[in-house]
Amino acid sequence: MVEKTRLLTIFDILTFIFMLVAIGLVFFYAPVEEIMGQVQKVFYFHVANAWVGMLGFTVAAVMGGIYLWKGERKWDIAGFAAIEISFVFFLVAIISGSIWARPAWNTWWTWDPRLTTASIVELIYAAYLLLRRGVDDPNRRARFSAVYAIFGFLSVPLTFISIRLLRTIHPVVVGGADPSAQGGFNMTGPMKATFFFSLFAFSVFFVDLLWHRIRLGKLQEKIENLRWHKN
């Protein structure tokens, strides 16, 4: 346990450094965008945030699958941790997106594909967390969570496609030659660098939090076991 903690501490420091660098890049390196000014910088955090939010689901579904296959509790703890963290990340992403939307599109909310899908994913996460609350037997809870995570994960692309086939005004930064999309903007070199580094830093942040949360989960389980055996 000691060995891991030291490794974790190193990782914590790395995360901290990366995030600092990312913030620095965003505020000092990347140029200020003409039309929207400083507010545009929210974009770097926002997309990275959303990206990480999606990551959580993927991780949880994979963990869930492994749990169903192997039956070891640690996979369940990992899946739960991933979704918990992603839930928060996505919430931040949605809110930060809203902050950007106001000056950019003159509205706090739109029903465009990405945003709508994000809210639905958020609701699936919430449903997952509620599901866990309602089951007492740890084994059953783990199984149900795994199954639901897999279902949720599979539904997201379908959800996204179905909503995307309706209209969109969300800037299509990646993979968009969609003529019906409005409000895109081009990224210059430094912007691109900042953007990708931001993505990277947030991913590291996610992994760091995940690691901590898993550790916490394992400790919790240890306590449960000890408390039981004391009786």
Partner: protein, 228 residues
């Protein structure tokens, strides 16, 4: 090998027969779903203040919201009746593959949902003077219901084993069923407004993909949801 398959089908058939026979006696489930569906349509009438011009554009949406809610009711009741008398154990004791239970219940649920839909369509047609008895629409209702019920049956099996059982099913089901609802509404709307088939095909394809993906997955994981 063939005998194995035959007993599998027999089990699936037996479950469907059992649900139909029991329901035919008591008619509790169907009447509840039907009354509920009609109430929802009634509420929409007042909530949306549908005049003749807007009516045709919202019909698809109103129909599918109605079906979704009524469907949830049916799913819940169907699985609850197994759980309450311990009958789920009875099913699990049978020497058949667990997935037979899934298919048996799912098809039963589908039939219930279809029965309700078949009754609602003419009623709605009469109330709002729109012809809903078109083959295209029937197809969409079939595909959409299949998707909804496949996921719903599995989730209902989970929900029924949870403390907060009645609330859990809609919470679990609705976010996952969004693709079905969107595709079904758009396709239904397409048929009602007389759009060319080429436009509607996208939505129909989406429905078919959803159905296939989720039936497959549900079939694969059902074991984990019923075992202990």
């Amino acid at each position: 090998m063939f005998a194995h398959f035959k007993s599998y089908l027999q089990a699936v058939g037996a479950i469907i027969w059992k649900d139909m026979a029991a329901e035919f006696r008591s008619r509790e489930l169907l009447s509840a779903m039907l009354v509920f569906a009609l109430l929802v349509i009634l509420i929409f009438n007042f909530a949306l203040e549908l005049d003749i011009s807007t009516r045709s554009s919202v019909t698809a949406g109103v129909l599918w919201v109605t079906f979704a809610f009524a469907g949830t009711l049916g799913l819940n009741r169907s699985m609850a009746s197994e759980k309450d008398r311990g009958c789920l154990d009875g099913l699990l004791l049978a020497p058949v593959d667990r997935s037979a239970i899934y298919f048996g219940k799912a098809i039963g649920n589908l039939l219930f949902m279809l029965i309700v839909e078949i009754i609602v369509l003419p009623v709605y047609s009469v109330l709002y003077n729109i012809n809903l008895l078109q083959p295209g629409l029937i197809l969409v209702i079939l595909l959409g219901s299949i998707g909804y019920v496949s996921v719903g049956t599995l989730l209902a099996t989970m929900a029924v084993q949870i403390r907060t059982r009645d609330i859990m099913l809609p919470i679990l089901l609705f976010p996952l069923a969004i693709p079905v609802l969107i595709a079904a509404v758009k396709a239904s709307d397409g048929f009602l407004q007389g759009f060319p088939l080429a436009d509607i095909m996208t939505w129909l394809n989406l429905l078919i993909v959803y159905d296939i993906v989720f039936i497959t997955i549900a079939f694969m994981v059902f074991d984990y949801v019923v075992e202990e």
